[in-house]
Subunit: 173 residues, 2 copies
Amino acid sequence: MPAESSEPREAREPGAPPRPDLLAVLPRITRLGAAVSRGRLVERAAEDAGLGRDRSAVGVLVTLRTAGEPLRIGEIADRMQVVGPHITRQVQLLEKRDLVRRVPDPYDARARLIELTDAGAEAVDRYLASLLGWFTDTLADWPRQDRDDLVRLLSRFADDVTTRLAETDGEEN
Amino acid sequence: MPAESSEPREAREPGAPPRPDLLAVLPRITRLGAAVSRGRLVERAAEDAGLGRDRSAVGVLVTLRTAGEPLRIGEIADRMQVVGPHITRQVQLLEKRDLVRRVPDPYDARARLIELTDAGAEAVDRYLASLLGWFTDTLADWPRQDRDDLVRLLSRFADDVTTRLAETDGEEN
DNA sequence: TATTGTTATACTCTATAACTATA
DNA sequence: TATAGTTATAGAGTATAACAATA
């Protein structure tokens, strides 16, 4: 690993050329995002799990599954970073397919809690097993240390970016 | 690989069961992707650089910039992983704004090469400096070793996933 | 006949606006 | 009056189909 010398941060003026390694990462990340979000991997995992082709609806199920408890419409929307009406429609479709159900919120009669049915929980578990299995297989040849480092650093990176992004977006108004 | 395709999917039996830390990474990555792709960070960087709000068009400019040379419509589409007609329209819009121009392809009269104008090159450089600067700032507090590891591992991960995804998508047809 | 690109059209995902019911 | 959710509508981004020109 060549520990090339580069100057510490903060020496960044507008218009200054970005670091070459960052510039090289950008197209890779973009391609990765496009391949996963528009490619057939996710779609096929969803179909194999009996979830059909609706990516947004799958997102709702995964959100409920990782939450581990019933959530309100607004909470799902927040976690998925989309607006409420979008979730309303997805939940309606999922309800028709008996993958989720609505139960009253004991603390607020305006709201309903969205809950996975048994069928929904089983389907989303099959989906996650398939998808995560694919990534596990992809990383199978990596040294354990590298895998652990990737998971650790990527998690921290995602958290840092999300946090800073929320601040940045907020202070603009 | 003649690949008996009666059971190509769901080839996930032995190997490695999905690890819990992977399950924890998934929502983070999803949120990161949503925040970057739908949030205001990219949009604002593009506006500051004088590129307007059109994300796809910005993608075309970045693709040309990182390629370092004029590209054909089909080549841009391949690199962005979208279909040709989409690029045709983006390039038409960019041409109207004098950010790119078309020049004849000396080797094939059917094709044109798409080339950044000076104005286009300057704008995309401002955009990239702004965007990458934001990420550099976000990583500013990280230990040097962690930053280097992240860039290295994330690049390799993106390459591995993209490669394997291309194989997987391909063998399905 | 195959390939490059364009035109026209349709679909998916998500947002905004206006509204209802409860707090 | 403010909040949770719904209905209806609009927009951005991308795909598919049919076609033109050149190889």
